[in-house]
Symmetry: C2
Subunit: 358 residues, 2 copies
């Protein structure tokens, strides 16, 4: 097929999403879904959809959602743009900002879609490493001085869960010459957002998603927050009707039900604290997480060192899915989505058995 597709496509191996088993008995702690149901109002909105709404094209700009999000974030509706999931927003940013002669700057370890999007676009990748000092992660000092068209920062970062202070992000936004996407997919589980930077810097775009904080991963709904002048340009590369009528209705209902969403965030945060503490008691080493997952480094065993792969596979045999990557800095770690209390207990029990058996 190398003669029918571009060489960079033929050479790319594409993105590998986490496993999505179809059964419902697996304890699924591998792709950072919210363990609690979405707002009942979202399901109500879905069930109210009519034949006429299905027959007609959706509202292209998802006005009802934009109004709700604008009111929530205290911005103008033109500062909100919707996408078929956060990943589509990332792809749009790459397509709008980076030609084949341009560079895309991102960190590692971080969201593994970033390098794939650069490869697909045929743009140069500039990869910088997080400074990792024991459990302390931080962005490298010189980041903003690097020349690139686009900088992708995930904050809270996946898979580490660490949170880069907003003051540091502001320094970067102020000095970086290209566009800075702050991927806030997990921000609902943190204490702060970079929202204020959008008002001050025209080169800052925030990514938000309904998949995690609002338990709507099944829906594919993400949005950008940015200044209207740049969003107007990004819109040119976006699909005309990226979000369908049902998704718009459900996402709008869920976003408006802040009390419900916040109650799930609170539960996840307290389970995250309990899980982190219990993992540390078992000898795992982990940075403080500001997301709905933790990145746990396998304890040094007195006997043979247990590998991340081994733990991942042993848990899978017990019907518990976590995420493991065979990548630098990650081979001796597993990423665990914070589940319900019951799910976390089962996980901890299995981990205890695995650790103590050594």
């Amino acid at each position: 097929m190398t003669n029918l597709v571009r060489p960079n496509i033929a050479q790319s191996s594409g993105y590998s999403p986490g496993e999505q088993p179809t059964d419902t008995t697996t304890i699924k702690l591998n792709t950072n879904e919210n363990p609690y149901s979405p707002s009942p109002l979202a399901l109500e909105a879905i069930r109210a959809i009519t034949f006429e709404q299905l027959r007609r094209y959706p509202n292209p700009r998802a006005d009802l959602f934009r109004q709700a999000a604008a009111s929530l974030h205290g911005v103008d509706p033109d500062c909100i743009m919707t996408f078929n999931g956060g990943d589509e927003l990332l792809a749009a940013m790459v397509r709008a900002c980076a030609s084949e002669k341009d560079s895309i700057l991102f960190l590692e370890p971080s969201y593994s879609l970033y390098p794939v999007l650069a490869e697909i676009q045929g743009a140069d990748k500039i990869v910088q490493q997080y400074k990792i000092n024991d459990t302390n992660w931080s962005l490298p000092d010189n980041l903003e001085t690097i020349e690139a068209s686009l900088l992708l920062i995930c904050n809270p970062n996946a898979p580490s869960g660490h949170f880069e202070p907003i003051a540091r992000l502001e320094q970067i936004a102020k000095n970086f010459l290209g566009v800075v996407v702050i991927d806030e997919a997990y921000v609902d589980f943190a204490d702060e957002s970079a929202l204020a930077l959008v008002h001050k810097y025209k080169n800052v775009i925030l990514l938000r998603t309904m998949s995690k904080g609002y338990s709507l991963a099944g829906l594919r709904f993400g949005y950008a927050i940015g200044q209207a002048s740049i969003l107007k340009e990004i819109e040119k590369v976006r699909d005309s009707y990226p979000c369908d009528t049902i998704a718009i209705a459900a996402a709008t209902a869920a976003l408006k039900d802040q009390a419900y969403a916040r109650s799930t965030w609170q539960k996840i945060k307290s389970e995250r604290a309990r899980l982190s503490c219990a993992l540390r008691s078992l000898g795992f080493v982990l940075p403080d997480s500001h997301a709905n997952f933790v990145l746990a480094q396998i304890p040094a065993s007195t006997k043979q060192q247990l590998s991340g792969r081994h733990i991942y596979q042993s848990l899978k045999e017990k019907n518990i899915l976590v995420r493991w990557w065979d990548l630098p800095h990650l081979t001796n770690k597993i990423r665990i989505t914070v589940g319900t209390q019951e799910q976390n207990d089962k996980l901890l029990q299995e981990l205890k058995t695995l650790i103590c058996a050594e």
Copy 2:
């Protein structure tokens, strides 16, 4: 913003979708929606969606839909790939096949998204004109000898509704050196499809959509039919979860309900015949349409020549929306979606008044 986005993006004016009024009183004959409801089974599938399905990521490859489509078209499920609408499939083809050094070949007048996708990608556009002889449209003779990475053909063509014989498409598929996308968005209203070419030529991709034939424009669901070897490459540029759980369920239910869908196609075809005949009686000139719309050239008046813009605007004042473009070959024509009998009657009545008033 020219310093923050690529110059080709800043220069592009983007795609302008047809008007999507929010009221339900407008007679909407402008964006080729099916005037009949989708299958009741589609709505049933939507209402059966559970909290758990919303909470979890969708099945990345939409296996249930692929199986249903594979069985319908007599191909392997790996020869089907789903997208968030046909437009996303077109964008994926452009991204996979054409670098900034490559060319994209397409016809005019045809679907006005094709040039926009080429501009966004930064690829060269090679535009060929349809041969238009009175009401007879056909592809230019030399088309397949032109060097380009990608050829986009809409068949039945929009906005003309004309159907290019499959034998001619086969000639092109056989001799063209790049990938040929046959955009069959409107094929459900034609008598034939180019499906057989997929089996014979690895460079042929068919585009299908649930928006028109299955009355699910509100859903955003399209799919490709092609050989597994090329689809595997296209998948690399596609979003990991392009179709949401609800859309997969509804599209699968609608596709399986062939009897229902075919009954709407039959009604549209007979209304198309009646509408075409009545328009011709009023002096409009139109090619035979194989789609769910007609492209009607304004009659030459004995007094002042009525323009396409004037007819479009006059109809709009009467709450009837049709499509008009200020583009070569199209300024003196309007494109009318075939509506229900009642809608078509109202349109014809208004047109009669307009024509006879001159």
